[in-house]
């Protein structure tokens, strides 16, 4: 993260930061789930 943006983010209220944390976590979970689906689809097709 660029220092200027980092400083602006650090100045947000705790409530706003928590909302961002939740979004980051949701995004990571979605990415992980998509990766698992891809892996699962690949192993299924390889198994055929």
């Amino acid at each position: 993260m660029k220092p200027k943006l980092q400083a602006r983010m650090a100045e947000l209220s705790f409530s706003e930061k928590i909302r961002i944390l939740e979004k980051l976590r949701d995004r990571e979970k979605a990415i992980a789930a998509a990766g698992l689906r891809k892996k699962s689809a690949k192993s299924t097709s390889e198994g055929k």
Partner: protein, 181 residues
């Protein structure tokens, strides 16, 4: 599918923790770890909520988290290894293991998440605890505090000295802040 916007899980989790405190299951508590660090720094992704807790029933060396788990399970929480998932967030309850942790909870900062009151470990105590834990990710977090000017170096040095972490701090400074000699 659940909305990605403003899901409010942390807020609801804290409401439940506050109710658990009001019901006498835990004493004082303070948010530590990455969520605690977010109070002072730019938000960074994390998977769990770390809470330092005092346990009213703790006697001697035996500390049991069972009353917390039972309380939360009866309100929809589910246990996963060392976490209990409350309101979609895995929460790790960390009993106070030493004087540093006790001081961290005593001197925690009162704040709110939306309208829900809570307490967060001070920046200097978070850094001292990260130094004590000493994993690579803890060192990264300490660097973020230092680089973003989010920690009072004099206060930190006092805490580090009083809690026997001077050697760890000197090594950290030498390795990460002073660069190769």
């Amino acid at each position: 599918m659940r909305s990605f916007v403003d899901n409010g899980f942390v807020k609801r989790t804290l409401e439940l923790i506050n109710q658990m405190q009001a019901d006498g299951v835990i004493g004082e508590y303070a948010i530590g770890g990455a969520v605690g660090a977010t109070f002072y720094l730019a938000p960074a992704a994390t998977v769990d909520l770390d809470l330092f807790v005092t346990l009213p029933s703790a006697t001697g060396m035996l500390v049991s988290l069972s009353p917390i788990y039972e309380y939360l399970k009866s309100r929809g929480g589910t246990q996963q290894d060392e976490y209990i998932v409350v309101g979609d967030w895995p929460v790790q309850f960390l009993p106070l293991r030493n004087a540093l942790h006790e001081e961290a909870v005593e001197q925690a900062i009162s704040t709110n998440v939306d309208d829900v009151p809570t307490r967060v470990v001070s920046a200097e105590h978070l850094v001292a605890i990260a130094l004590e834990t000493g994993r690579a990710k803890d060192h990264t977090r300490i660097l973020q505090f230092v680089e973003q000017g989010a920690v009072d170096r004099a206060k930190l040095k006092d805490i580090v000295k009083r809690h026997g972490l001077s050697t760890e701090w000197n090594q950290f400074e030498q390795r990460f802040l002073k660069g190769p000699q």
